[in-house]
Subunit: 172 residues, 2 copies
Amino acid sequence: MELQSYIAQNGTTLNIEKGQQVFTQGELCEHVYLVKTGLLKAFYLTESGKETIKSFIQSGAIIGSLNAAHCQVPSTFSLEALEQCRLVQISFSELLSLSKESISISQEFIQILLSLSLKKERREFELLTLSASQRFDNLRNTDPELVKKLTQNDIAKYLGITPVALSRIKHQ
Amino acid sequence: MELQSYIAQNGTTLNIEKGQQVFTQGELCEHVYLVKTGLLKAFYLTESGKETIKSFIQSGAIIGSLNAAHCQVPSTFSLEALEQCRLVQISFSELLSLSKESISISQEFIQILLSLSLKKERREFELLTLSASQRFDNLRNTDPELVKKLTQNDIAKYLGITPVALSRIKHQ
DNA sequence: TGACAGCATTAACCTATGTTAAAAATGACG
DNA sequence: CGTCATTTTTAACATAGGTTAATGCTGTCA
């Protein structure tokens, strides 16, 4: 894990309070973040003010707006701490150029991107083929600990429904 | 584009008739495919027999079940030709080991995975935040040529609705 | 301990989409 | 040109989920 140790040495440690945003939709964000401790949510805010949650990020995970970082465009989503968090921040382009100099870093990068793809594929599959209540069951089975930590509001926004609908689903 | 030329030299060319499947959900599939000409759909079939389309693949694109190829598990979706297609087939693990020996191949690989991630992210965003009719508008604006070639049935399955619902949406 | 804020539930009503089935349109082919 | 298969539209009804608003629950803190 050369990459991990590089990040540990060259990254900047950030302490983020609960409720604080790491980066905000519409802004450039050239960094990626390694989550040491805590829990965050990545979410979209539509023009009409509706929030939908893209993903929850737990300790050990790497998060960043690949789009924003790679293409130098504003991020399409925000990242916010649901608990007090400790993150290590590192420049995406720095990682990318690092990967140009070391095969093993490249390989780690590829592994990270592959596992990211798989995660997104599962999510896409669920959104496309399952009903809200099936998605809820899935979440509960896959990560019951996470579900305990979240408010019903955030779970609903993740499932793509309203908290009212989620409450109904639970009582069946 | 070393990767492209490697594939051109070492890949196997396949001619796939309209309606024929390149690989099938539930089977192992260790290859990825470069689309030279034609149009395909990647789709899921649920136990209840419902089909939903994950993506359409046009010429120039690379497609394969990363999950199946990388983790040696059965593919979660099928790939079927909507038109007569010419594909170049290559082993995924061969590409991966190739990338271990060449930085520039690694870099191309990373670029491909990044652009794949971005595509999936857009799709996830649409499924999560837009209504069926907004998704339809989007598709029409983004790729009107593609829409012309598809049946209403396939468009609907891609949007995650029934052809009946799509017909209704159109007449508004 | 009492007051308040934030979260969860319930209810009533509305809208989008699903389901089924029939009718209409389109397109391929003898 | 007419026939048949396929695709699309329409209609009628069913259901999931959205919206709003009222009610109830829980935890915090002065």
